[in-house]
C-alpha cells in the first residue's frame, strides 16, 4: 500500500528527511513513532500529497506521488495532527462537502459510527477536541479509502477519548482498511499496531513487528524481592554470573537483567535460592516500547 524509498526533504537549510525507507502492507495497522520534530508529520504530509520532496520515491496505492495531478487522486483518508474544519458548518454539511459522491444515508451511517449522531446538526465551532478528532476520522473515511493516514490521532485527548479513537481504528482494520498512524503515546502503539517504524532526526531507525522488536532489543529483567538485604559477596556472585548483564539494588529488591532473551531463568533462580535468604517475590518485568524508545532516542 505504501512504498517509500530514499525520501529526502529540506526546509531551507534544514534536512528534515534523510533517505527515509518505509513499507506498509495491506490491512495492517502500522505505528509510526518518533520524538517531536523527528519528521513524522513531514513524512505523512508527503504520503498525503500535501507536501513535496526533492529526492526519492513515494508510491501510495500504486500511484507515484510525484506524478499526481492533485492530492485527491490518491484516494486516501487523511487526518492531520490538528484537524481544521469550517466552524460555521454542521458535521453533516461538512461530511457532505468532503464527499466525492454526496449521499445522505452514507453520511448518516458514518456519523453514527463516529458516535456523533447527537451532534450531527450542530455547528463544528461548538465541538470539543475529542469530537473534532472523531469527525476528522469520519471525514477520512467518507470516500471509502483503502488506506488511512492518521497523524497523532489520539494525542491531546483524555484517556476515554484516546480509547475511543483506538477502538475506531481497530474497527477500521476489521473493515479491511490499511492504517498508518503516528503517535508518541507508546502504549497506544503497543495496543493496536501490527508493525512499527521509528524515525529519529529525519532517519528511519527500524521497521519491525512489535514482538520481534521487543525480542531483539529489550533484554528480560527480573525483579527479585528478598526478606533481608543481600550482603556484598552475594551481590558480587550475581554480578559475575555468566547469564547476567546488569544488577541493581534498591532496599530488599534486586533488579537483574539477563544477557539474552531466550535464557532459561532456572539458573538465576537456583543461584538466588542458594543465598539462603527468604525470597518474597520473583517477577519478570513486562517489556514495553517505552524502554526501547528511550534507548533509541538517546
Amino acid at each position: 500500500m505504501i512504498e517509500i524509498k530514499n525520501l529526502n526533504k529540506h526546509f531551507g537549510q534544514f534536512h528534515a528527511l534523510k533517505g527515509i525507507n518505509l513499507n506498509v502492507k495491506e490491512n495492517e495497522i502500522y505505528g509510526f513513532i518518533g520524538h517531536n520534530g523527528a519528521g513524522k508529520s513531514t513524512t505523512m504530509n508527503i504520503m498525503a500529497g500535501l507536501s513535496h520532496f526533492e529526492e526519492g520515491m513515494c508510491i501510495i496505492n500504486g500511484q507515484d506521488v510525484k506524478k499526481l495531478a492533485k492530492p485527491g487522486d490518491l484516494n486516501i483518508g487523511f487526518l492531520p495532527e490538528n484537524p481544521q474544519f469550517y466552524p460555521w458548518m454542521t458535521a453533516i454539511e461538512y461530511l457532505l462537502y468532503c464527499s466525492k459522491n454526496p449521499n445522505k444515508q452514507k453520511v448518516k451511517e458514518i456519523i453514527e459510527w463516529a458516535g456523533l449522531e447527537q451532534h450531527a446538526n450542530r455547528k463544528i465551532r461548538g465541538f470539543s477536541r475529542g469530537m473534532k478528532q472523531r469527525l476528522g476520522l469520519a471525514v477520512a473515511l467518507i470516500n471509502d479509502p483503502k488506506l488511512i493516514i492518521l497523524d497523532e490521532p489520539s494525542s491531546a485527548l483524555d484517556p476515554e477519548g484516546r480509547s475511543e479513537v483506538l477502538r475506531l481504528m481497530v474497527d477500521l482494520k476489521n473493515m479491511g482498511k490499511t492504517i498508518i498512524f503516528s503517535s508518541h503515546i507508546l502504549s497506544d502503539i503497543e495496543r493496536i499496531c501490527d508493525r512499527i517504524g521509528m524515525i529519529a532526526n529525519g532517519e528511519m531507525i527500524f521497521e519491525k513487528t512489535l514482538a520481534s522488536l521487543l525480542h531483539d532489543n529489550v533484554k528480560p529483567i527480573f525483579d527479585i524481592e528478598f526478606r533481608h538485604p543481600l550482603i556484598t559477596s552475594q551481590l558480587e556472585k550475581l554480578g559475575n554470573h555468566k547469564d547476567i548483564l546488569k544488577v541493581e539494588t534498591k532496599d530488599n529488591v534486586i533488579m537483574v537483567q539477563l544477557r539474552q532473551n531466550d535464557l532459561d531463568p532456572k539458573n538465576l533462580l537456583e543461584t538466588v535460592l542458594g543465598f539462603d535468604v527468604p525470597i518474597v517475590g520473583f517477577n519478570l518485568r513486562k517489556n514495553n516500547l517505552e524502554s526501547l524508545f528511550v534507548k533509541e532516542g538517546d
Binding site: 508529520s41 500535501l50 492533485k70
Partner: protein
C-alpha cells in the same frame, strides 16, 4: 462545483460578511442623495447664515446626476476599502488555517476552489454594486428628479461590477501568494489606488482596469475605450487566476 458555490454561500452568510457588505452598500447608496438634499445644504446654511437657500442650492449643485456620480466615487473610495477588508481572508485565511487540507485530500480540485471563490464573490459584489447604484439612482430620482437615462446607470453599474471582480481576483491571488489576510488587503488597495493615479497621470485609463471606474463615474461611454479597458480587465483576471492556480499546485499544505 455546485458544492463549492454552496460552501462559499454558507461562508458568506454565516460569517456575517454578506450582511456587512449589503448594509454598507445600502448605507452608501441611501446616504449620498440624502447628503446632497439635506445635510450639505444644512451645513452651508449654518456656516453662511447670510446666503439665501437658492444660492446654497446653486453652490451644492444637487441633482440625480451628481448624486449617482458622488455615489460611484464613494464606491471606489469607501466601498473598495469595505470590500477589501471584508473579503481579504477568503483565500489567505483558508491556507493559513489549513482548512483546505480535508477538501483537497477528499478530491476537490484547485481550479474549482479558485473558480468558485472568484465567481461567487465576484458576482456577489458585482451584483451588490449594480443593485446599490440602482437604489441610489431611484432614491435620488425621487428626491430630485429623474434626469439620468436608466441605461447609462445600468451600463455604469456593470462596468463597476466588473472592476470589483478584478478586485476579488486580486484578493484571491495575493491571498494565495502571501497567505496573510491584512497584507493581502493592503496590497490590493495599493494596486487599485496606484492604478487609478497612474491612469489619470498618464491618461492611460483606457488600457487599465481603472478605466472602468473612470468612465463609469463620469457616465461618459466611449465604446472604443470601454472595450479596451474591459478586455484588459478580463485578461488581468485570467492571468491572476492562472497565477493563483500555479501557486496552489506548488504550495505545501498542512505546514505548522
Amino acid at each position: 462545483m455546485f458544492k463549492e458555490f454552496k460552501k462559499e454561500w454558507q461562508f458568506a452568510t454565516r460569517s456575517g460578511r454578506l450582511f456587512i457588505l449589503i448594509m454598507s452598500f445600502l448605507f452608501l447608496a441611501l446616504m449620498t442623495p440624502i447628503m446632497l438634499k439635506v445635510l450639505i445644504p444644512e451645513i452651508f446654511r449654518m456656516q453662511f447664515p447670510n446666503l439665501s437657500m437658492e444660492d446654497i442650492v446653486l453652490m451644492v449643485n444637487a441633482s440625480q446626476l451628481t448624486a449617482v456620480q458622488g455615489f460611484m466615487s464613494d464606491l471606489f473610495e469607501l466601498g473598495m476599502i469595505i470590500v477589501v477588508f471584508t473579503l481579504c481572508s477568503i483565500m489567505a485565511q483558508e491556507i493559513r488555517d489549513n482548512t483546505l487540507v480535508f477538501p483537497i485530500v477528499s478530491g476537490n480540485k484547485f481550479v474549482n476552489i479558485i473558480a468558485s471563490k472568484t465567481v461567487f464573490f465576484g458576482l456577489t459584489v458585482g451584483l451588490l454594486v449594480m443593485g446599490s447604484i440602482m437604489i441610489c439612482y431611484a432614491y435620488s430620482g425621487i428626491l430630485f428628479e429623474f434626469e439620468v437615462p436608466l441605461q447609462d446607470v445600468l451600463y455604469a453599474g456593470m462596468l463597476q461590477g466588473l472592476y470589483f471582480i478584478f478586485i476579488i481576483a486580486n484578493l484571491i491571488m495575493w491571498g494565495a501568494l502571501l497567505k496573510r489576510t491584512l497584507p493581502t488587503g493592503f496590497i490590493t488597495l495599493v494596486i487599485a489606488y496606484l492604478m487609478q493615479a497612474v491612469g489619470g497621470l498618464f491618461d492611460i485609463h483606457a488600457y487599465l482596469p481603472s478605466g472602468l471606474i473612470d468612465f463609469s463615474s463620469k457616465l461618459q461611454f466611449q465604446t472604443q475605450n470601454i472595450m479596451t479597458s474591459t478586455l484588459v480587465t478580463v485578461i488581468f483576471i485570467m492571468i491572476m487566476f492562472v497565477i493563483t492556480h500555479v501557486s496552489m499546485k506548488k504550495m505545501e499544505f498542512n505546514i505548522r
